[in-house]
């Protein structure tokens, strides 16, 4: 006992000393962190070119990363305090008691990049009209998320009002969508396609040059509405398709950051080469890989077989091992683990395939298969994408797991075109599925699990009116507790009782970057927090 006490005291002393030393060592750094420095150009790597510049039409991060800093949006997520919502061009807002009217006060004196035109509520109305009620021939990718909107009005230069058809708890967050760039109403009236090839916004940076396939250059907007921002003189996005070339770019300092994320190997290479000049931000990602099972094909029309497929996966082991080689890590259900409405670990382990006793699960899986008449050594195919990260490691892992319950599953890798074709047509036994969201919102994430036909992204092809009804109920739930409960019932039905389709692991976002890049916090989505307004470069 005594010895133990001594040790503890010794530890305490050492610990205290360490803390003091650390505190001393880091004080100057922290102080500098509080006083951002102006100037400098941020170079960052992006995997692809933006196809067009129109945020309302595109769905790729490759458009967001270079283009978002040119625009303002109505609301944005707080990078210090996700998922809190802040105003961007909105100064303040009011929601009526019946939840049907949202009134926004717009900041005054915001100038477009031409340096003359002032942003008014009419521009915001024109923007949202284009998104929600696009004119003939104009595409709006996320129109479906705004089905609750009856109309958008601009009663005065600094007031915008949204009228809803029904109250919706997810509406405010949808107005913080990073895609909803605010455009100029007059330009839109003349040519609704103008913004596909041109940039004219009110964001912190002005457009300089885009060389397709090569790079994108922007400079500071001196007229930006937020005093003292942005800090950077400008930025340069470099388009680098090859993953290893992107890692090499950050490692050598040719780029300071890549916002989407690197693999564990990339992180280790960069850290090993540059040591403490690199800071690594890691965290969960609103993306998951799942298995779509063809519910219309024998023997997968039998819930026992589907249950066996999910029971075979040792998710907890996968979390430990695959996270060393791939960008997948978190064990979760249909919502991102750790998000507001997600299942707790205890709730999760009650679901088939999430138990920590894998031997029992596999035994049960074999029993179910036998009961359903699926013989040992039965051959199936699992179709996968031809991308190495994270599809390939997960594919290899799954096939190996199914081998352990006596199924001979062949991994069939397909190029993008045939892969999407087969997934849509239902030409598969099992196929890799995934989804990435820009925010944690059950309305968005649960949509995928609605009946085939109701939801366009239900590739498992089942129809279940019970789920459709539960979805409507949770979307209009009055209290959070009620909504949570409904979501649990929904999750249990999808993953356990029916095992229609099942997530494998949620993604793991790893952003190693040069420590001199300050003022950018990793959020759980690579679509969010890309306006670079608060980013600055420390001298070292």
């Amino acid at each position: 006992m005594r010895k133990g006490n001594d040790l503890n005291i010794a530890r305490l002393i050492v610990g205290a000393a360490l803390i003091t030393i650390l505190a001393l060592a880091f004080t100057p750094a922290t102080m500098r962190a509080e006083e951002p420095v102006y100037g400098g150009t941020l170079t960052f790597a992006v995997a692809k070119d933006p196809p067009s510049y129109d945020g309302h039409r595109e769905t790729t991060f490759a458009m967001i990363h270079p283009v978002a800093p040119h625009y303002s949006i109505l609301l944005k997520f707080d990078q210090e305090n996700y998922p809190k919502i802040l105003g961007d061009v909105a100064e303040s807002w009011k929601i009526s008691e019946d939840g049907l009217t949202y009134t926004f006060k717009i900041r005054k004196g915001i100038k477009f990049h031409d340096g003359k035109t002032l942003l008014t509520a009419r521009d915001i109305k024109a923007t949202y009209d284009k998104i929600i009620f696009p004119p003939e021939g104009v595409s709006s990718a996320r129109k479906g998320s705004y089905a609750m909107v009856k109309s958008v009005e601009a009663p005065s230069d600094d007031t915008v009002v949204f009228h809803l058809k029904w109250p919706s708890p997810s509406f405010l967050a949808n107005l913080a969508s990073p895609w909803n760039f605010i455009y100029n109403g007059d330009i839109l009236a003349k040519d609704p396609h103008w913004y596909e090839k041109n940039i004219m916004g009110t964001g912190p940076f002005k457009f300089v040059e885009h060389v397709p396939g090569s790079h994108w250059v922007a400079k500071r907007n001196e007229d930006y509405f937020m005093k003292g921002r942005p800090y950077l003189d400008g930025y340069r996005a470099i388009f680098i398709k090859s993953t290893s070339a992107r890692v090499a770019a950050v490692r050598s300092g040719r780029a300071l950051i890549e916002f989407r994320g690197f693999s564990p190997a990339g992180r280790d290479d960069i850290v090993k080469a540059q040591g403490d000049k690199i800071k690594v931000q890691e965290g969960p990602w609103i993306c998951y890989l799942s298995v779509a099972v063809n519910n219309t094909r024998y023997p997968f029309d039998d819930p026992r077989v589907r249950r066996a497929l999910t029971l075979a996966l040792d998710r907890w082991e996968a979390s430990k091992t695959l996270s060393k080689i791939a960008i997948i890590k978190y064990v979760g259900g249909i919502l991102r683990p750790g998000s507001e409405y997600a299942a707790t670990e205890e709730e999760l382990t009650q679901i088939a395939g999430f138990s920590k006793d894998i031997e029992a699960s596999r035994k049960e899986a074999r029993r179910l298969l036998k009961e359903a008449g699926v013989e040992e050594g039965s051959k199936f195919t699992f179709k996968n994408r031809d991308l190495p990260m994270p599809y390939e490691p997960m594919g290899i892992f799954m096939v190996d797991q199914w081998r352990k319950i006596g199924l001979d599953v062949e991994l069939k890798v397909e190029e993008t075109g045939p892969f999407f074709g087969d997934r849509k047509k239902g030409d598969f036994d099992m196929i890799m599925d995934w989804e990435c969201g820009f925010m944690d919102e059950p309305d968005l994430q649960l949509y995928k699990f609605l009946s085939h036909g109701v939801s366009g992204s239900n590739y498992s092809r089942y129809k279940d009116p019970v789920l459709d009804e539960l979805y409507e109920k949770q979307a209009r739930a009055k209290t959070k507790e009620e909504r949570r409960k409904l979501i649990r019932t929904f999750e249990k039905r999808v993953l356990d009782e029916q095992a229609y389709t099942f997530p494998t692991l949620w993604w793991f976002k790893i952003n190693p970057h040069w420590a001199k890049v300050r003022g950018w916090n990793q959020l759980p989505s690579h679509y969010l927090n890309q306006d670079l307004r608060d980013v600055w470069l420390a001298e070292k």
């Binding site: 769905t59 790729t60 595409s139 396939g213 398709k241 770019a249 040719r254 993008t416 366009g456």
Partner: protein
């Protein structure tokens, strides 16, 4: 001779039309189209209605034959149309990348020639000695190393031992020769080595062939002075097939550096090619295939004419 040339030029037309037809059909047989791929890629779901609308914008809703005729009519008027992926004019997209691709191809050709001609000649003159063996092993090793692998190794070496990486984007040679060369010299070396392998072998075998000709044998037997003169003369004759190989390879280098461009992150025609196939950018792929095919056919034509002109024994068939 003139008739022969005219005939050859006329033959090019059906070949080019055939290539156009093949690539047009091939692209449409591939599963998926530009619209589908654009939106499915990120896993975001978009409505069928929007897909239909986007297709109509690209003219994909029109009958196939209509699209084909429209394309050919455009080509005839030298109007290559716009990219289905970016909406920018195809000529603009190609222009951005052509300078880089041409330069890499030229540099690689330069390296290859520099290595191949002396080595190949030496190997032939010293046939079946250790000099020949060493040279052949060196050149075959060039053929046997996958170029993507060589590229990855080169980049790693630079990173690990020199903590340095070539610039990530292209600067024109005329603007900043230093930046330009420090980016392009590596891929040019990697490609040039591989390319020199083919050229070395060709040089060796054609020098060998010329050496077997009777007049050279006699000359070599006569004495040193003649030996030098004739060897030089023989070399000139032997260079014809070597030039052919170099010319044809050069034509392919412009569009065929698919993997190398990816490894070195070069914004060249090869990358655009693969990208446009993957994105089902019909108009872009069609134009690129057409350009590569025309280059190939024209180079081939020039080589044939050169042959006929230099070697009257060749019959004009």
């Amino acid at each position: 001779m003139h008739r022969y040339i005219i005939k050859r030029i006329l033959f090019m037309i059906p070949t080019i039309l055939g290539v156009m037809f093949i690539v047009f059909v091939l692209m449409r047989v591939l599963p998926g189209d530009a619209v589908e791929i654009r939106y499915a890629e990120e896993g975001t779901f978009v409505s069928e209605e929007m897909l239909v609308q986007e297709r109509a914008r690209l003219g994909l809703d029109q009958p196939i034959w209509h699209q084909f005729v429209k394309w050919i009519w455009g080509i005839v008027r030298l109007d290559f149309g716009i990219s289905m992926w970016t909406g920018r004019p195809i000529t603009h997209e190609i222009k951005i990348r052509l300078e880089l691709s041409l330069q890499v191809a030229l540099m690689a050709t330069f390296f290859a020639t520099l290595i191949a001609i002396p080595l190949g000649t030496m190997a032939a003159l010293k046939q079946d000695t250790w000099v020949d063996y060493v040279i052949r092993i060196f050149s075959i090793a060039g053929l046997a190393t996958p170029s993507f692998w060589l590229g990855i190794l080169m980049i790693l070496m630079l990173l690990i031992y020199f903590k340095w990486l070539p610039p990530m984007f292209f600067t024109s040679l005329w603007k900043d020769p230093g930046a330009n060369l420090s980016q392009l010299i590596w891929p040019a070396l990697a490609v040039g080595y591989r390319y020199s392998a083919t050229a070395t072998r060709m040089t060796r075998s054609s020098v060998l062939e010329v050496m077997r000709e009777d007049y050279i044998r006699t000359a070599r037997a006569k004495g040193l002075w003649e030996k030098i003169v004739i060897t030089r003369h023989a070399l000139k004759n032997a260079m014809l097939p070597v030039i052919t190989v170099i010319g044809l390879e050069f034509a392919f280098l412009i569009g065929g550096l698919v993997v190398t461009e990816q490894v070195f992150n070069l914004n060249g025609i090869g990358k655009l090619f693969v990208q446009s196939i993957a994105q089902r950018d019909y108009t872009m792929t069609q134009t690129l295939v057409l350009l590569v095919a025309i280059t190939f056919i024209v180079v081939n034509f020039v080589v044939d004419i050169l042959y006929a002109w230099l070697d009257p024994r060749i019959r004009y068939q």
